[in-house]
Symmetry: C2
Amino acid sequence: MTYQHILVAVDLSEDSHILVSKGAALAEKLGAKLSLIHIDTNYAELYTGLIDINMAEAQYRMADNAQEQLQDLAKKANYPVTHTFVGSGDLSDEICNTIKQSDVDLMICGHHQDFWSKILSSTKQLINHTPVDLLMVPLH
Amino acid sequence: MTYQHILVAVDLSEDSHILVSKGAALAEKLGAKLSLIHIDTNYAELYTGLIDINMAEAQYRMADNAQEQLQDLAKKANYPVTHTFVGSGDLSDEICNTIKQSDVDLMICGHHQDFWSKILSSTKQLINHTPVDLLMVPLH
């Protein structure tokens, strides 16, 4: 038995479709479910200095926009996408919760091999916390 | 098109069979080739203080022993293993060379999520250097 539910984590950059199509190809071969997740990690931090912004509404609008982009990626996947998740907050916490709630057994994410990513990558955070296998795709 | 040649990196500890059977199950589903690699990373460093040891012979014997253990893992894989590689030296250099020479397109390795591994893991080295996708399996 291999994987049953594959979750692809995307940052909604241009590279996202590479990850989604890898996930779709693998899910098709393995007969697994495919889901997408986007975590908006630094939204809260960006706005801490401003007090007159309607945080709830702005955050809602942002999530809505991310959900739209995920749906768009899902449409282009050439494979049925079961769930599209949008979250905010700590990347590894949010992803680990989703993994447990949705019985995900393989997670796919990208990793840039440039100087800053080597030091600050959220992929490295994930490695230390993921309860399931992690397929890491190098992006250039 | 998914993966054609899967390379499983093992440290020959008790967890190695977990990685090999994951690799075998995936290779079977994808119709890919399966190979195993063990890199003896700190052999040279261990013996730098001794001058009367026959380094060449000792290293040869150690590689021989590792090759035997790899063959043993290969036998238990329930899937044909194409190559078993034994190397010594820098982990990521050696593995990247093997990947290029053997047209590997997916690498599987384990990662312990304990305190020291989080800081010193060779998996993290790999992440920054691997030219191909890396499937990381958390080990407990």
